[in-house]
Symmetry: C2
Subunit: 677 residues, 2 copies
Amino acid sequence: MSHIKNLIPSTVNPDLQKERTGAEFDVEEFSAWWHGGQDKLKRKREIEEAIFSDLEDGYGLNHEYMSHEEVYNSTVKKVAEAAVKLKALQNKLNPGGTDIWPGGLYNAQSYGLFPANHPVATHITMFVDVIKGQGTAEQAEKWGKAAANCNIIGTYAQTELAHGTNVRGLATRADFDPKTDEFVLNTPNLEAYKWWPGGLGHTANHAMVVAQLYIADVHHGVQMFIVPLRDSETHMPLPGVDIGEVGKKLGMASVNQGFLGLDHVRIPRTNMLMKFAKVERDGTFKASPASRINYLTMVYTRCLIVSQNSMLHLAAATIATRYSAVRRQSPIEPNQPEPQIIDHVTQRLKLFPEIATGIAYHLATEYVWEMYDQTVLEANNGKFERLPDMHILSCALKVLCTTDGCAGIERLRLSTGGHGYLIAANLSNIYGNAVAAYTYEGENTVLLLQIGRALVKAWASFVEQKPLSASYSYFATSMQLKEFPKWDDSWQCIIKALQYTAAHKTRIAFENLANRMASGQSQGAAANNTGIELTRAAELHGRQFVCQTFLEQITGAKAQKRSPALNRILENVLELFLVQTVLNNLNDILRFINLSDADLRSLQKRLEDALERFRPNAVAICDGFGFHDRVLNSVLGSYDGNVYPRLFDSAKRSTMNQKPVQTSFETHLKPLMKAKL
Amino acid sequence: MSHIKNLIPSTVNPDLQKERTGAEFDVEEFSAWWHGGQDKLKRKREIEEAIFSDLEDGYGLNHEYMSHEEVYNSTVKKVAEAAVKLKALQNKLNPGGTDIWPGGLYNAQSYGLFPANHPVATHITMFVDVIKGQGTAEQAEKWGKAAANCNIIGTYAQTELAHGTNVRGLATRADFDPKTDEFVLNTPNLEAYKWWPGGLGHTANHAMVVAQLYIADVHHGVQMFIVPLRDSETHMPLPGVDIGEVGKKLGMASVNQGFLGLDHVRIPRTNMLMKFAKVERDGTFKASPASRINYLTMVYTRCLIVSQNSMLHLAAATIATRYSAVRRQSPIEPNQPEPQIIDHVTQRLKLFPEIATGIAYHLATEYVWEMYDQTVLEANNGKFERLPDMHILSCALKVLCTTDGCAGIERLRLSTGGHGYLIAANLSNIYGNAVAAYTYEGENTVLLLQIGRALVKAWASFVEQKPLSASYSYFATSMQLKEFPKWDDSWQCIIKALQYTAAHKTRIAFENLANRMASGQSQGAAANNTGIELTRAAELHGRQFVCQTFLEQITGAKAQKRSPALNRILENVLELFLVQTVLNNLNDILRFINLSDADLRSLQKRLEDALERFRPNAVAICDGFGFHDRVLNSVLGSYDGNVYPRLFDSAKRSTMNQKPVQTSFETHLKPLMKAKL
């Protein structure tokens, strides 16, 4: 076994190398397209070289062996060190920009620096932004700069122990005291404790507290208040502040999510964010003129989630695909060597549709980002027509991307067999990071019900022949058809079929809702009882949108900027995605569209053909996503494919393997073995 | 906030109490039925009282805050203490039995004692059993007794770093040396290291090593060898033994799975298990006359998995259902108080089908256990006809139960919203324990392909009008029909529809396989290319079986032993399960069976009605499963429903909350905050 020294070869696994050599397109072209241009790709690589090259061995896994406290303290050290490094790099490469500092604290690279996430993430992504977006100029000057430089560290405290998605149910109160010109913030009971804010446990010394505003016992809705939590010198909690962390979670081990109880804590009136709603010195309340603006913040956050989650989905796909090219198991032909498992058709079905799905959501997000920029532009000119559409589409995208992505990540983990169960594969950690988004920023079912209600409202307008916004235009084109036309093999046919099905599902939800109300149910009860149909219609509405945008991004004018070879690859990805979407939704489609046995056989054949054509390019497509090994952080998915040496190496690093016999042998195991039970 | 002292009330949450009061059946009757009789239920409660009542507070969560090493050492202590306690209890309550000792180390109660599992589990469930089943009388005397009393601790070392499900690919060698009458065990390369055996890392001092037997370089298949690993006094690894743990995993934190390399390690010839195959002193090899017997072991293990996993599925359902009765969120009627979330129809759809599914698999396993006992009886009389059927059905049950159960546990976790993300909810831990079974004892896709191949083989016999075993009899009844008869609302209609669909899916897989071979593909390539259809046919074969057995267990002669009230409840569970199964498989069913729009509306209505009827009994049904709070180990799912106090209490116990300021504040956070970045 002497060959098991010097574990990790400096060469690439030959099976993986063979895959790269056999690819039918130029990976560099793919990668430049994927990253938005050659320049951006180059910059990304430069940054990664700078921030990852000096990390010690085991950086990404060490925390897994530590106690809960050690994980936290070691991560704070990592953040403090990274902050200095990122800031310097930003000044060097792109002074005044934000792509490296603070970008490196929350973008894709941050997964390489902080595999268990970190406790300053909420500060950077929410506290700083909310002050900028909702604070007055004075507030931005006073708090915003200090926050941006980490002179103070904040968090965003909205969710309570007993209230999440239903923000109106929050119970934390802020009462204005005109005598002292202060707000008194109070947590009336245990259920109203703030719960979940990142960094709240032991890191932040300020919180943006979302509370019900009362002036002379008159309620003025939910507002935001900057509340100091800890002494800036000693970090001790301030009087009236009951604070701690919520305990260990399924993922995000280092985020230090906390709880917060406030016992009549007083803050100056000027600590309420007042860019929109205002409380004046005499207690006069001025409502916000711009409730629609808040929509934009939600849309922005949901687009961010889709970007992040599709990235995590594709990271998992990269790990599983590379592993499937290296792992050999179960002969296809008796007496032949075992094949790469990527050659089993059932394995291809586990891998390639996930890659296609991740790409679909990535492209849909790009589309929605463009639409978002357009909407912001219009909103700045006082035009808000596009906003409700934007809102519903971003909800649908968030729901579908997190639902499909999380289920996909877990399927990918399972596709790697036993080794995927190891933390060192990093697939469970990716899942833990991704799946939180299923719940936050609007729990997925709650969002689907919102979308469903918007759909039946739109359907009512459609029935009454009122004007409809663009995203519902397929209602008309679908309902013009007496029945769905003859099935053909075109992509347009698939899009139309999904739209036709979505329109009819909406019709049925609308009819059932109306019938229930006609039979005497209240609107609330009828909507609740129609919940299953509403959510299903909402899902299909989202799916036709994702398919439609995918088609436009691949076949539209943008295709001409890409080489024919790359377009051939992308068209096959599209084909796979569309065919899979049809096959996965046949239970609804077949209700409205009569597909013959020949049509169904043809779809099955198209699926198998698309998988077959995908095969030689799968590894290269994953390479094209350009994940740095530090970001993947996986013994199964590294670029060099040295799977078994890396598995063994990671085991050897386990703290338990640093000594041959554990202390419990003498204290408990040996006595058990020597006892006469 | 003074009311937040003395956190956990001694009363039951009133919403939960109301559910119990409103149940329409006698929970005690359900529970006695579920546990196989009033006596067994009483015994179970007696045992739980004895083994759980003196555990300290936080027993089930403390390990989550420890370092990897501490988790291990504290668990060894727990095992050593439990062993003494369980053995004494066994002697007191049922001398000579095995239900408490060693049963308590692997049955449902063991989850209460060892929430992160433990490193002696593989010893008890495999090492001891394999010696008993495959060893000679002398071997049982020499090793079996010492193992049963934990004087030696073993593990079962089969899987290797590069070989899992494909046992024939194992590369560890055992060469017979006639000069010394020994076997020489050797690990030829890194890929052949044993990997995964529970307790192998630092606990076991023996291993049952599965290796390729060679005598004078002639191969004699895979055999089992007892290999001493560690010195019995010092526990140091013996010469030639490279041993350690594989590193942290997604679940089973305390199982201490290990790796093992053997460098020409010598053991006496008599250390090979020789009840069946034999190597004599002169090197003569006698093959096993009873390869079919091995089938029975596999069947047994898979039935055990289904028992365990359906139990875990229902534990998760109990937690989520109780939480859903306590949690209030999102008004159904505007200006009304927020309802229990169990009143949202979409929430019911997340909960009740999981309960029904867990019950279905539990009942299917009971059926298969009976069939298993019958098969063992027949096998002892030399009759093996039933064995292949048993094998295929147990494979199908294992695949479906772990697939549906694991996905279900995660859906249930997501149904509890944010709080399910907390470790203290225990849903992620239940998932981690359950999902390993997706891969071990035959990876699920590999098993589906096996079942699929058995199906097309059976189809070939059917086409040739050869006799078929009972489990394929639906081929004939289905194919006699020219087309599927008019849809009606009976359960029989649903069963027939599933069988009809399964038969036609098998037919299509068979035809495609034949066509591919006719077009010149080898049998191996054709089978691989038909993989998607084979696995789908296999799945449907399993589903019709589970539905059929559920129907028989609920409506058959056994129903007469239950009260009409209980039967009404169970019939609704059956109704829900059958309707859901149809709706979830419509994409295949609609291909072969023409359901009208009215039929589909009727199915949707049946689903909604079944959910509605389920509502008042959901909590009580979960109570009927009889999970002890220690086994559920969940702040969301305890019997008293004090969800928020328990959430807060668990947070307060976090090691990080024992001091207000962490050490990294002075060392890194404060310097960051004082720095001018």
